[in-house]
């Protein structure tokens, strides 16, 4: 299963990278946090490491460490507006439950 | 560095004058140190640390000089390019005799009553205040030679009071 981005997310990623002035793509990952264990991370990527998995979608390189891929396979990265906030959102088919604080999830 | 070339009054944003406001000096001192003290640069580049130490020392020196009346007046003479000749001492015979009298009082202080000492001290304080007034008026006339002469008297009175308190 691959990793993908929505049209609107791709547009925003391109805009962010252009503004920063450098970067080969974005790195998606998970880190341990919150009360149910894992949280998403998106970082600019300046280079691709040896073991990295790279997915090309809509002109964006999505880079993932194999360890994180276990939790993220099949995920689609979206961009939405919720009230006054806007930002990226992970549509992850693996998620079983989301913790009350909303910060972390479990697979 | 431009800062290190500023005179102490400019550094503290105070007009050059014989008398200055203590609270302004204190406030500016802390403001300046909050900006330049090396502790504020402990995470900075080496060069920045070095410069902050130089500036912070300069601010401390300025603070000490401006806080003290005699040091301050000496500094005013210095920035007005009045370089007194070290070999010339005050040639004022009246004042010389006055000095001898004052020193005699201290030598014989054990024979004086508490009241005599108090009156004497009050008298010196009065002389000190009037000397300051003299200095101010000479300074307004830009007569630095006279400022310097009165400053020597002032210095004597200040030392004399310290000596009295030490006995």
């Amino acid at each position: 299963m691959s990793i993908s981005v929505t049209q609107i997310a791709a547009k925003h990623v391109q805009k962010h990278i252009a503004k920063r002035g450098k970067g080969v793509g974005i790195r998606l990952g998970v880190k341990t946090t919150g009360c149910s264990g894992l949280a998403y991370v998106i970082e600019y990527a300046d280079k691709i490491e040896k073991d990295d998995l790279v997915f090309d979608d809509r002109g964006i390189k999505l880079i993932i460490n194999p360890k994180s891929y276990v939790y993220l396979k099949g995920t689609q990265l979206d961009f939405t507006k919720e009230g006054l906030n806007e930002g990226f959102k992970f549509k992850n088919p693996n998620v079983k439950d989301v913790c009350g604080c909303g910060e972390s999830f479990n697979v | 560095m431009d800062i290190l070339k500023k005179n102490y009054f400019d550094l503290f944003g105070i007009e050059i004058s014989i008398e200055i406001k203590k609270s302004t000096l204190e406030k500016k001192y802390k403001e300046l140190q909050r900006q330049f003290h090396p502790d504020k640069y402990s995470q900075s580049t080496t060069h920045e640390k070095k410069i902050s130490a130089q500036i912070s020392s300069y601010i401390n020196d300025a603070y000490i000089t401006l806080s003290d009346l005699i040091k301050r007046i000496n500094y005013i003479l210095k920035i007005n390019n009045f370089n007194k000749d070290e070999s010339v001492t005050l040639k004022n015979e009246d004042f010389l005799i006055e000095q001898i009298d004052h020193n005699e009082f201290i030598e014989n202080i054990n024979s004086k009553t508490a009241k005599e000492i108090k009156n004497y001290k009050d008298d010196i304080v009065k002389k000190l205040s009037s000397t300051i007034i003299e200095i101010k008026s000479y300074y307004e006339k830009k007569d630095f030679q006279k400022v310097w002469e009165e400053l020597s008297k002032l210095q004597f009175y200040v030392n004399h009071i310290n000596k009295l308190e030490g006995t």
Binding site: - | K22, K28, S42, I51
Partner: protein
């Protein structure tokens, strides 16, 4: 699920918190702590007693090494008695303690073993390397003792962020630095020593007005009194003392009244010393606002009673007196490392006057005690013989008129003075005191435009070569991977510089730099960002230096600009 922003990994490195600690390096006990919102102590009190025998069967126990810090052999001979171990005083500079296998230890090395132990305990608990430490020293420590303390910390592999005076540290722990104004007594009664300091506090400016004490008076003396009075063993007497302190009432073995009368002489002596310190501070007892209690022995109820009876002021004792100094040091470490953004500023003063020897063995003061630090002062020396090319300068510290009564910091030889007629050379010697109260000396000849570089040879205590040798030797035995350590340090340094420059550029690059200037800095910045990933510490360090060099002019512009914004606005108040 919350919405997510793309984060920049480069900025993440920069925001990383530093692991910094405060260390109370005591005569009897030491403590190590860190501060994040609250203070975290690593273990409890750690004994400052250490075995240097390298042979568990016949231990060589060293106690109270702090008393020997920075002393020459002669000073040890004249001031220290009843040591429980042999000390070799044949090397005049550095007294040495030899163990059975023939290895020599100086006080600096023994101290560094204590520090290394503390470092290991904290690092194991956090599973992180310590990035920096604030180490406390007694307020009366002179330059040599401070240098020795700093060197022992370096020898233990600690980067010293700051040496902090113990009473000042206690005052920081009580939060007295924020806005309090007044005079305070710091009454520090430890296991083996009694120290008292009178502090003046004026909205963030600390001044040590006077210090006094007795380095042979401590809680241990009280244990001995109890032991002898009741004919019990040392352990039991310690426990009994603890119980008496907690309950302040009679026990099976002794009534509280008997205990109090037993220790009255000792307590009275501390009160006398305190009064003496107040007198020397030129304050009257009514000028004192509060008393801060430091040291485990201050738990003795009679002490509080006596202090209340003798001084009409408020007693501060709600922070554990054993921990208050380490806590203040941890707070200061966290501020200096940038972890804590409090707007606290500690303006410390020089504890003892600094001078040079003049004709007739008299001291001429160059920087007087209680001068705010950092400070600089300069003095011009000249030659007294035709063609003289060297000049010896003797630097001393202390308040007395006679050089013999002051601490000799060492002699400095000025070499390469251009040959001239007597009195023609003008050698300007500059004395700089840094924020730790440590002295640096530099010199230049500036008559007739000959700007000769003059070499200075410090000759006191321990020199850099000896120190490097010691570090190498100690590493051989400890099997520390020096290269790994160096690499780690150079990365930390690189991160700090990247952060400093990046933050500065964000704020005012547009305003202060032309496009060309900006790009010359960013080239070096990007280069360092690349090099930081390398495993070569020298490559990283040289990239750091390049970046520093490329940004010097920019740093100066920034400083000059901030002074302009400060010089404005005048008030109308009292006149001096």
């Amino acid at each position: 699920m919350p919405l997510i922003e793309i984060s920049d990994p480069e900025e993440n490195i920069l925001k990383k918190k530093r692991f910094v600690v405060g260390i109370d390096l005591g005569t009897t006990n030491s403590l190590i702590a860190s501060r994040d919102k609250t203070t975290k102590f690593y273990g409890d009190l750690h004994s400052s007693i250490i075995d240097i025998s390298e042979d568990p069967k016949s231990p060589l126990i060293i106690k109270s090494i702090k008393r020997l810090m920075g002393l020459t052999s002669e000073e040890v001979k004249n001031n220290i008695d009843n040591l429980s171990y042999e000390i070799d005083l044949s090397n005049n500079k550095l007294p040495m303690i030899k163990n059975k296998s023939g290895k020599n230890f100086s006080a600096i090395e023994i101290s560094s073993l204590i520090l290394k132990n503390l470092k290991t305990i904290a690092e194991n608990e956090e599973e992180k390397t310590i990035d920096g430490a604030v180490v406390t020293v007694p307020a009366y420590f002179n330059d040599v003792q401070r240098q020795a303390t700093k060197k022992s910390a370096e020898l233990a592999g600690l980067k010293v962020l700051r040496l902090l005076n113990e009473p000042t540290s206690a005052a920081i722990a009580y939060g007295l630095d924020t806005g309090e104004t007044g005079n305070f007594i710091v009454y520090d009664f430890g296991g083996g020593t009694f120290d008292v300091s009178i502090l003046n506090l004026d909205k963030g400016v600390f001044k040590v007005l006077s210090t006094d004490g007795d380095t042979t008076l401590g809680g241990d003396d009280i244990d001995i009194l109890l032991k002898n009075h009741l004919n019990i063993d040392k352990d039991k007497s310690q426990k009994l003392k603890q119980k008496l302190c907690e309950t302040n009432s009679d026990t099976d073995l002794i009534t509280i009244n008997t205990f109090n009368s037993l220790i009255k002489n000792i307590i009275d002596r501390t009160i006398d010393i305190t009064k003496n310190a107040i007198a020397r501070s030129r304050l009257s007892e009514n000028d004192i606002k509060q008393i801060i209690l430091v040291g485990g022995s201050t738990r003795i109820p009679l002490i509080k009673e006596s202090l209340k009876k003798n001084f009409n002021c408020n007693i501060l004792d709600n922070i554990d007196p054993d921990r208050v100094v380490a806590e203040g040091a941890a707070i200061q470490a966290s501020i200096l490392s940038g972890n804590n953004k409090d707007d606290l500023l500690l303006l410390d003063v020089l504890p003892l006057s600094l001078g040079v020897e003049t004709y007739g063995g008299l001291s001429e003061k160059i920087i007087t005690r209680n001068t705010p630090i950092p400070a600089t002062a300069s003095k011009t020396f000249t030659t007294f013989k035709d063609g003289q090319t060297q000049l010896l300068i003797h630097i001393i510290q202390g308040e007395r008129e006679l050089v013999d009564k002051c601490k000799s910091l060492g002699t400095f030889t000025l070499k390469n003075i251009p040959s001239m007629v007597a009195g023609a050379a003008r050698i300007k010697v500059q004395f700089q005191i840094d924020v730790d109260g440590l002295l640096l000396v530099s010199a230049e000849e500036d008559s007739t435009g000959v700007n000769a570089h003059i070499e200075i040879n410090p000759s006191y205590g321990i020199d850099e070569d000896e120190l490097i040798k010691m570090i190498e030797e100690s590493n051989k035995s400890a099997e520390i991977d020096m290269n790994a350590r160096k690499l780690y340090e150079s990365r930390v340094e690189a991160e700090r510089v990247i952060y400093a420059i990046t933050e500065a550029l964000k704020k005012d690059a547009n305003e202060l730099l032309s496009k060309t200037e900006l790009s010359s800095i960013t080239i070096c910045l990007d280069n360092l960002k690349n090099k930081i990933k390398s495993d070569n510490s020298e490559e990283i360090s040289s990239a750091v230096q390049e970046l520093e060099k490329s940004s010097e002019f920019y740093v100066e512009r920034r400083m000059n600009r901030s002074i302009k914004s400060l010089i404005a606005g005048k008030g109308i108040d009292d006149i001096i």
